[in-house]
């Protein structure tokens, strides 16, 4: 199986503080990989390194075949990224957001045009194509942000808590999109605080104090820790020693 994200003893130190401590894992093509951990466990630092935004202190990692030390620009071109905090421009319309990001990712105008039609059709956003994103319901924004992160057909997309705040049906509609993308071969690398979503992943890792403390399928983790749910696994592991 092709490995799309590979981390080998990847480490980041800030002064004396080791934010990410020798994490090692490999994510398959088309896999939904849940990257879990308590606030402050080191997830964001690890994600920033994998996205080519932060230089590691030591260790190695390759994303979509590119090196996180020497090929960060290639990585940024080839990955998709979406987070709750940073995704769409609220004061641009739906159509303008697609066009803008299409340009950023280097798509040619005809490609942007056909992608725009595809997204508007697929998300049933035709009627609000020229509406400012600010006025759309949160669930629509999340689905649009994901589609935009997928504009340049990246082999892997990083999602940082993408589903916060929406109703349970909208949250599941978002996951339907993730399943579909994964079944078409896109690797999904996702963080979430919803433990039921952890169960939807093919495999999950749980970070504690900068280290990966557990990594397996949800079913095997539940069996290993003798609990009924991923929430149970998380409650056992995730507290760690840090109180920050």
């Amino acid at each position: 199986m092709e490995k799309v994200v590979i981390a080998d003893k990847l480490t980041k130190k800030f002064g004396n503080f080791i934010a990410t401590n020798e994490i090692t894992f490999a994510v398959d093509k088309g896999e939904i990989f849940g990257f879990l951990g308590a606030n402050g466990a080191g997830k964001t630092t690890a994600m920033r390194m994998l996205c080519g935004l932060l230089k590691p202190s030591s260790g190695d990692a390759k994303v979509a075949g590119f090196d996180v030390y020497t090929q960060t620009e290639k990585i940024k071109e080839r990955i998709g990224y979406m987070s709750q905090k940073f995704s769409l421009y609220e004061d641009l319309t739906v159509r303008e957001n697609i066009k803008f990001y299409g340009g950023i990712y280097g798509l040619r105008l005809p490609a942007i045009k056909s992608k725009t039609e595809y997204i508007l059709e697929k998300l049933s956003l035709g009627e609000v194509a020229d509406t400012l994103v600010a006025s759309l319901p949160l669930g629509w924004k999340q689905r649009l942000a994901f589609s935009i992160a997928m504009l340049h057909e990246p082999p892997v997309v990083f999602l940082d808590e993408p589903t916060g705040g929406v109703d349970p049906i909208t949250r599941r509609q978002f996951w339907d999109m993730l399943y579909e993308a994964a079944s078409n071969g896109t690797t999904i690398f996702i963080t979430t605080h919803y433990m039921d979503e952890a169960e939807y992943c093919n495999r999950v890792s749980i970070m504690v104090d900068g280290r990966i403390q557990a990594l397996d399928t949800p079913r095997r983790l539940r069996e290993q820790y003798g609990v009924e749910s991923m929430d149970g696994v998380f409650q056992i592991l995730a507290r760690g020693t840090s109180t920050k």
């Binding site: 606030n39 929406v166 349970p168 049906i169 339907d176 169960e199 109180t243």
Partner: protein, 301 residues
Amino acid sequence: MIAIEVISKTYASARALQQVSFEVQKGELFGLIGPDGAGKTTLFKILVTLLLPDAGKATVAGFDVVKDYKMLRTITGYMPGRFSLYQDLTVGENLQFFASVFGTSIEANYALIADIYTQLEPFKNRRAGNLSGGMKQKLALCCALIHKPEVLFLDEPTTGVDAVSRKEFWEMLGRLKNRGLTILVSTPYMDEAVLCDRIALIQNGTILAIDTPEGITTHFTKPLLAIRGADTYRLIKDLRTAPFTHTCYAFGEYLHLTLKSESVDRTYIEAFLQQKQHRQIEMHPISPTVEDTFMSLMDRQ
């Protein structure tokens, strides 16, 4: 302790609250459960006298939210959804500030916050802006408690906080409730509903149902099965097209399949799935959760 009578509120074009009514008893831990944009924050702002309703009436501890706002502010504690302490004051300074605004001191009411504040004490000289999410949340709770309010309003205190910190926070709320505080708390996390005495489900400015967490699931009326198989994505797609399916949603490790009627036989479902070549099928009937109920009520709306 809190009485809300047909409250409505409209912003420019959006109807934020539509004829919302419910009561919260003294000493009750009452949960307002719903997604972003449901109207939770608007209702909180009306109850803590920061916003006027267009229609309807509400009282807290007998004080009217419009006429008696000055009195009301002295007996309520409010923790807004957005972190609203002073980022460039330290933990200790923030607490001191809120105590002095209410004409009291940290010492006078320390007993009430001791349990929470001891966890913050190692960081008491750190600026609030540099705290982690979980610690900010604990400091905000301390600041909302320092004037010893009778009623506590907590607007999405656990949003964006990890599952372990959420659990700790709810344990703190349980202890505050045991001290006699009345607590109205909102959350988008359906799994937190079971930790409340009673809950109201809210969506699009309308209350869908009000009951105890156990009672609320009786609003779910159709037969419900948990199903899993080797290929989840294909299973969910096939089940959604099945003639017996009302809805099918992912629910943790299982899918929750709501059937159209009681008369659907399980062997019929098994035969349907076998014909579609699904393997390792496992299914059993289950009782609906609060989340199942919320989704079915949304659906009906």
